[in-house]
């Protein structure tokens, strides 16, 4: 039976409300960033007024957002690469090798997901600023301080573990008979078969590292090393810049994650789907 006109109208209205809730703020940011008219707190523009790209220029060059974007890119790219490498190797061991204490290792990895960032931030600070013996240096105030703590991430380890478990044992045995060693089985047989999952893990990992706020705030005090989320936090309370410049900086901060998603979207969706239907 076809729904009545009233029902259809109500349904469309509901869609519009939902759309407004989700897209509204995003649209507001875009419009404000492109507007020359300085908005007042609480004001929301629906269309750009005095359209201009000057806000982006001010943010990028005058506010040196480019530097913080660069810092964020270095941390996110190196961090994601290391995170995926560590996760894939850990997942291979957990999924394909039987060893004493495997269950305990899984549990320890899992337990890292149960601690909120705020709880570990102080111990993490203590570890990061601790000086290494002999060389008498610490990684505090370096890129390494922001990268190393995010290299091991339980989510990506578990995601890849599940996918690697699904690779038939016979493939590994066939490769073993063909003369492959452990590394060759990992690199030539198992890893190519979990590519969709790798795509998903790269996207999630990149976004997770890009969005880190507390960690860089705790382990870095040199402003030159600040990442974009930390910088945005500071810009927000800076009364010398207009809200328009601030939202332009916010948009710039969002761009890399959106690009990352678009580049790996196909693999991401395949990864999500495969995870959903796997028994």
């Amino acid at each position: 039976m076809k729904p009545s006109l009233a029902v259809r109208a109500a349904r469309i209205l509901l869609y519009l409300v939902i759309l407004a809730i989700f897209v509204g703020p995003f649209w507001g940011i875009i419009v404000t960033a492109l507007s020359g008219l300085v908005i007042k707190p609480g004001q929301l523009l629906l269309l750009p007024v005095q359209p201009t790209l000057a806000n982006f220029k001010t943010a990028l060059i005058d506010m040196q957002v480019w530097r913080y974007l660069l810092n964020s890119l270095v941390v996110a790219i190196v961090g994601t690469a290391l995170q995926v490498a560590v996760s894939a190797l850990a997942a291979y061991a957990l999924a394909r090798r039987r060893f004493r204490g495997a269950a305990i290792v899984s549990l320890l990895v899992l337990s890292t997901m149960m601690l909120p960032e705020e709880v570990i931030s102080i111990p993490l600070y203590l570890v990061v600023q601790a000086r290494f013996p002999v060389i008498d240096a610490s990684i505090y105030n370096t890129y390494a301080a922001m990268i190393l703590p995010v290299v091991g991430w339980a989510f990506s380890i578990f995601m890849l573990t599940e996918f690697m478990r699904a690779v038939p044992k016979e493939l590994e045995e066939a490769a073993r008979i063909d003369g492959a060693n452990e590394w060759q089985i990992f690199a030539n047989v198992v890893l190519p078969l979990v590519r969709p999952a790798l795509g998903t893990v790269v996207i999630f990992g990149f976004i997770m590292i890009w969005d880190q706020y507390l960690l860089p705030l705790v382990v870095v005090s040199d402003k030159q090393l600040f990442t974009i989320p930390v910088m945005l936090g500071m810009l927000r309370v800076d009364e010398t810049i207009t809200p328009n410049v601030f939202v332009a900086a916010t948009l710039l901060a969002m761009a890399p994650t959106i690009i990352c998603y678009l580049l790996l979207q196909k693999q991401f969706n395949r990864g999500i789907m495969a995870g959903a239907v796997k028994g």
């Binding site: 038939p168 066939a174 073993r176 008979i177 063909d178 492959a180």
Partner: protein
């Protein structure tokens, strides 16, 4: 090329003994079939030869070399898996050349060998395809190709035909046999299908509960099974087994309810009153006139015809019996007729030990 020798091989998974003291000699160039029901340990034994399972006890030798402690890749063997285990992300050519690439062989040698084997198996047109773009039979051939390219001293096959349909199975069976004839590499082939075992094996090893039940040529096993188990496992339709007792003066055999009395063939020294099992192959029964001496009166239960062979399932006083013949049968369910076994071909087993009583 290499002979395979298993000496006193045992394998336990925890408290479960899967292989118990198995000793088998497979000569160089021989095609040996390991057969047995599910759980008999045949696949485990193959995996032990492959080096995919360690032995708990015993020794494995390939080509005279003790390989018991060696890893799979050091044993110079190739294996065709039941699931084919083709690398899904690699093309047929990459699948076939994987082992050679791992060995860092020169590129032109890899190409030449892969092309040769592809031609031998009729895979030339498929070399650039992925496994998912192949039919079951083609995948099977690629799996064999991958094994052949390596030129190993032993081929191991783990139920390679069980995922194929009946027609293709017969065809590939022939192809494997031809291939063995051409290449002459020692082959160990695991199956639970006795037709495959009988048609392919030069030597058959029957396994039961992790033990070797009997080793022999296909016809050896068929004509002279050592035990009730082998007699029942080899042959299709299955052998008829009638519980009986040796009659007075040891000249007759009486079935349990004495309704069937068969003459005891010459050459058996059996004491009167001994409990035995009479094994009669379905093709060793002929129809005779009712009331003929040494005949068994039966009622037809069902008739199964494949066109070339007919099997009549009938009810006898000693239970269900199968009769097979090359002739078409007009019998219908309920028809009564008399059967007489070829007494020269009766197999007699001791009831207690279930082993065959040898005729003098």
């Amino acid at each position: 090329m290499g002979a395979v020798s298993l000496k006193g091989v045992s394998k336990s998974f925890g408290a479960v003994d899967v292989i118990r003291n198995v000793s088998v000699e497979i000569a160089e160039g021989e095609f040996c079939v390991l057969i047995g029901p599910s759980g008999s340990g045949k696949s485990t034994l193959l995996r032990i030869i492959a080096g995919l399972e360690n032995v708990t006890d015993g020794e494995v030798r390939i080509g005279g070399r003790d390989v018991t402690e060696l890893a799979a890749k050091e044993r110079d063997i190739a294996m065709v898996f039941q699931s084919y285990a083709l690398y899904p992300q690699m093309t047929v050519r990459e699948n076939m050349s994987f082992a050679l690439r791992l060995k860092h062989r020169p590129k032109d040698e890899i190409r030449r060998k892969t092309d040769e084997v592809a031609q031998m198996l009729g895979l030339e047109a498929l070399l650039d395809r992925l496994p998912k773009e192949l039919s079951g039979g083609q995948r099977q051939r690629v799996a064999m190709g991958r094994a052949i390219v390596r030129d190993p001293s032993v081929f191991l096959f783990d139920e390679p035909l069980s995922n194929l349909d009946a027609k293709l199975r017969t065809q590939v069976r022939g192809e494997i046999r031809d291939l063995h004839r051409r290449i002459g590499t020692t082959s160990v082939y695991v199956t639970h299908d006795q037709v495959e075992a009988m048609t392919m094996g030069q030597k058959i090893v029957v396994l039961r509960d992790g033990r070797v039940e009997q080793v022999g040529t296909p016809l050896d096993l068929y004509d002279r099974p050592d035990s009730v188990f082998v007699a029942g496992f080899i042959g299709s339709p299955a052998i008829n087994m009638l519980p009986a007792m040796v009659g007075p003066e040891a000249k007759t055999l009486h079935t349990a309810n004495s309704e069937i009395v068969l003459p005891l063939p010459e050459g058996y020294r059996l004491e009167s009153g001994r409990n035995v099992l009479i094994g009669i192959r379905p093709e060793h029964l002929e129809t005779v006139a009712a009331g003929a001496s040494g005949s068994i009166v039966c009622a037809v239960d069902a008739v199964e015809s494949t066109g070339s062979d007919t099997t009549v399932i009938c009810d006898s006083p000693a239970g269900k019996m199968l009769v097979s013949s090359k002739q078409r049968s007009q019998a219908r369910a309920g028809d009564r007729f008399a059967l007489r076994p070829d007494s020269e071909k009766l197999l007699i087993f001791d009831k207690a030990s279930e082993s065959r009583i040898v005729r003098m």
